[in-house]
Amino acid sequence: MIASLAKLALKLLLTLLLGGLLATTLVRFAPGFGMDEAQLDIRLSNQSIDALNHQPKENIAGFYYRYCQRLLHGDFGRSRTLERPVSELIRERLPETLKSVGLGLFLGWVLGLSLASIAVMARSASLDWLAGIFCGTLLCLPAAVLAIVFVIAQAPERLVLAAAVFPQIYHYARNLLMRSLNQPHVLTAWAKGMGSLRLLCWHVLRPAAPQLLAVAGVSASLAFTTAIPVEALCDLPGVGQLAWKAAMGRDLYLLVTLTVLVTAVTLIANSTCELLGNMLGARRA
């Protein structure tokens, strides 16, 4: 248990360091990096602009070291477009995104798992087909279109995330539950007259729980990704909207910090789900 926890923590740390290095490299080599706005001042002579241009530039290792040092002190830099500290912007907007993502995941899971359970337990081809068509259509819609449709229909914007997560959950859960249901011992229990609810809870959902937990980690990443178009188009002041604004304004400092932050959150979610799944699997074994 402690060994697997340590392994996960090491993996998380390495991934974040590597991700941070990639992000820093992107920022360092982005066009316009190190340019001083003072160079646009028409009062400056050519010599002054040349002097500004020829200021010694830091190498990537030094830049990365200082970047990480600042990150550890909670200084994420300053947003170029919004002219505010990045940490302040994140503090302001992260709760909004967490609220949307949390609600979206909760509703998506409740709806997806419920529909999958009903479709599997009912053993009705028409119900399965209808649910498949409905979820299949939702899967064909980009999250941005879902957001626009919700805005046009004046539906609650926070539900867009649930509508994007739900078909994915249904798709995975249905296949997993169907596999569990077709196990010989489950079919025997059914033939012997075991109640549907007991059969579902004890013989269908329980064996599928480790795999479902793995899907839970992936769905967190999906929800954060979906938050960008949803918040941008529904005007929800979250991290997703901030990322979109940063991309439009080419504010790489902000964008890179957000990417690293969301990567950390999704990695923690994935690792937690993986750990729980392993624990469940080990207990079952």
Binding site: T15, P142, V145, I148, V149, P229, A243
Partner: protein, 268 residues
């Protein structure tokens, strides 16, 4: 479900043919403005009316479909080839190379792809010509979409490496490169092809998301993302239902791909 798959293939072929023949089928160029007829409703000359700049909606839909249907497979081909190269070599080599490559793949897969895509897209200029924006968008999709394919291909390459026929080939004196070229790569063709087909609808949807956010292909060149972006200006009072035609076509095409893929996933 066989009839549904046949129907989906027929539909995809029809849409692809119509879009490829857009130069002949479309009544006007995608950028041509009928300045006297902005926001025109449906007519014999303008099957889907015109947009607020007087451009024929039907022509733009055909050209936009062509852009998405030609370039999504191109991006998918790039991603699958990268996946085949990286995953195939890693699986064939095994040992620490495989572990290293798979760790890199895990890292790539754990990054939230849209954030990553936005970051990389933001590094590149936003005010580029339509042709360059098309190339950038789909090249980015191809370059960032290899990880999933590499993972699957690596697993297959590993099982081939450990198979008896490869052992026999080794025993017969086949060297590393020859073994890879003659025995491993041909056997990875099926999984690479499946990854290619699976990635197409994913890339179509991703381009649409980017286009709607204004980070995809730039005007006046139409793409599905750009066409769907127009839905933002739809209002219940002044909006026309015809504005939803690109969305219906989009869902039908992506849905058809999913139907055809269902078959592919089963056969591979």
């Amino acid at each position: 479900m066989k009839w549904a798959r046949i129907l989906a293939i027929v539909f995809l072929v029809t849409v692809a043919s119509a879009s490829l023949l857009a130069n002949f089928v479309a009544p006007a160029s995608y950028a041509y403005q009928f300045r006297e007829e902005p926001d025109a409703s449906l007519s014999r000359h303008h099957l889907l009316g015109t947009d607020d700049l007087g451009r024929d909606r039907f022509s733009r839909l055909l050209y936009g479909t062509r852009v998405s249907l030609l370039l999504a497979p191109a991006a998918s081909l790039l991603a699958s080839l990268l996946g085949l190269l990286i995953g195939g070599l890693a699986g064939f080599a095994g040992g620490w190379i495989e572990r290293l490559v798979m760790s890199a793949t895990d890292l790539f897969l754990s990054l939230p792809w849209l954030f990553l895509l936005l970051t990389v897209r933001a590094v590149l200029p936003l005010n580029v010509s339509p042709l360059i924006s098309v190339t950038i968008t789909f090249a980015l999709l191809g370059c960032l979409g290899w990880a999933g394919a590499a993972r699957m291909i690596c697993a297959d390459a590993r099982s081939i490496r450990e198979s008896e026929f490869v052992l026999l080939a080794r025993a017969s004196g086949n060297g590393g490169l020859r073994l890879l070229w003659r025995h491993v790569l041909p056997n990875l063709r099926a999984i690479a092809l499946a990854q290619f087909w699976i990635s197409i609808p994913v890339f179509i949807i991703t381009e649409a998301n980017l286009g709607i956010l204004g980070l995809g292909i730039t005007e006046p060149l139409p793409s599905w993302g750009g066409l769907l972006r127009n839905l933002q200006s739809y209002t219940a009072i002044t909006g026309e239902p015809v504005q939803f035609v690109p969305l219906i076509l989009f869902v039908a095409v992506v849905g058809s791909f999913h139907l055809v893929l269902h078959d592919k996933e089963l056969t591979v």
